[in-house]
Symmetry: C2
Subunit: 271 residues, 2 copies
């Protein structure tokens, strides 16, 4: 039975897509069977996984045009791609994704009937035995696409930079999570806050990290021990459409993301 994890926050640019992609790649490297789901009309994760498809994707699945299994695209393994290290990335297992397309931005207006929040949950149900982890990327909004992703999920991870706007975004998402656990998904767990694009030298970052830790306690959750440091390789890997570990496995953000995946797995055993 797979574990469905949604990465979310309304605050833009906090690393939702980067985190979803890195977590998926880390778990795949550790041998788990992983399905990615791109619920963002920007389709950034779909682009980086080279899985663009305008007719088979999350839009068709949400609007009932096809079952989720038919929309799964197998992104090419990242083997043999130019990467920054001498270390041969080796043959990466194919990574599977249900891609996003621009049609998805119309979903807000199309999904109006009763039960509109449950479309993704129902669609993923038949796939749960085929994967160990299903990881969902979401747009920077609290609309119907993110509500679907929260309703379908077992756990939600919030990404935040250590700054005032991200902190506000955490509180805004928290009230949405409370509504979702009350009306559509009582089992949803807030599985921690991950600090991204971290600049350890800045005083403000340290102050805001402290505030975010206090906030996490108030929400009965936690902050992942190791923030993700800022590193140029992240943008480079995304532009060259490779996962971070194939592109630059020894780079700081890659190490931090591997530590994040390890902590997530440890905490799962503890459940």
């Amino acid at each position: 039975m797979s574990d469905i994890i949604t990465i979310a926050t309304q605050k833009g640019g906090t690393g939702k897509t980067t985190t979803a992609g890195a977590l998926g790649a880390a778990l795949t490297r550790k041998g788990w069977r992983v399905l990615m789901v791109d619920m963002d009309p920007q389709a950034n994760l779909t682009f980086t996984m080279r899985a663009q498809d305008q007719t088979h994707g999350t839009y068709e699945v949400l609007t009932g045009k096809m079952p989720a299994a038919d929309a799964i695209c197998t992104g090419p393994g990242q083997a043999g791609k130019p990467s920054r290290t001498k270390e041969k990335p080796g043959d990466m297992p194919d990574r599977k994704i249900i891609p996003a397309s621009t049609a998805l931005s119309g979903a807000d207006l199309e999904l109006t009937a009763i039960g509109k929040e449950f479309r993704l949950q129902e669609a993923l149900q038949p796939l749960r035995d085929d994967f160990d982890y299903i990881i969902i990327d979401t747009p920077p909004s609290l609309g119907i696409l993110t509500i679907n992703a929260l309703t379908a999920a077992d756990e939600v991870v919030i990404t935040a930079q250590a700054d005032a706007y991200s902190l506000q975004g955490i509180w805004q998402l928290h009230s949405t999570i409370q509504a979702v656990t009350r009306y559509t998904n009582p089992g949803l767990l807030l599985k921690g806050i991950l600090i991204t694009r971290h600049n350890p030298r800045s005083v403000l970052s340290r102050d805001l990290t402290g505030l975010i830790e206090e906030t996490a306690q108030q929400m009965q959750t936690f902050v992942y021990q190791r923030p993700i440091r800022e590193g140029v390789a992240v943008k480079e890997a995304q532009a060259s459409r490779q996962d971070l570990f194939s592109y630059a496995p020894r780079n700081k953000p890659a190490q931090d993301y591997m530590a994040f995946a390890d902590e997530l797995l440890e905490r799962r055993q503890g459940d």
Copy 2:
């Protein structure tokens, strides 16, 4: 007759709010009468301008509950606030803003009647003689709030980081701009692309800046000459709820934003 400028892109975290705030503050310092409009339910600009108000704001204006003039909040002048420089910021003129509130996130579902795209344009019409510039901040989405902001605007400025995801965001917004000029606002001008959070040392930034410049030419627009450099003072000013020029006028991003405002003014004369 005021000039209405909307700052937009679907890509999250590219500096829309930072740019709207800095441009408003720069024009105010140069003696222009400026009104800010916050169309983002996150209400980040409203927070930084200390103008939170849950009953008078863009939501009430869009849904016809009150005229725009009644929703204008006068943010406190930034005089005398602790700032990083010895230079006394001096008495800043009050800055005016129509604030956002969380109620705004429901606007997508409420604004359904015919003419829903024109609500903001109609509401701002009576104010145009009271201000020289009206600057609109938007959420990271291409939904009805951003459509209203584009329909109301004379010009739109796109913010982008020099990375692959921002470049995709430019193309996505461009097709929305084309639809807006065709159906709701034929006079809308794409008034350039501003590169933000720029890291001049990174090779990728240079490559992507080149690609963005090519894209701008294809869209018959331009990239502002001086990218905005990354600087910690931006987040610090936002957290302490001051405008960038009151907080750290000699800081790199403050200088870059002043150069951006100067170029925008120059190009306006040239029109």
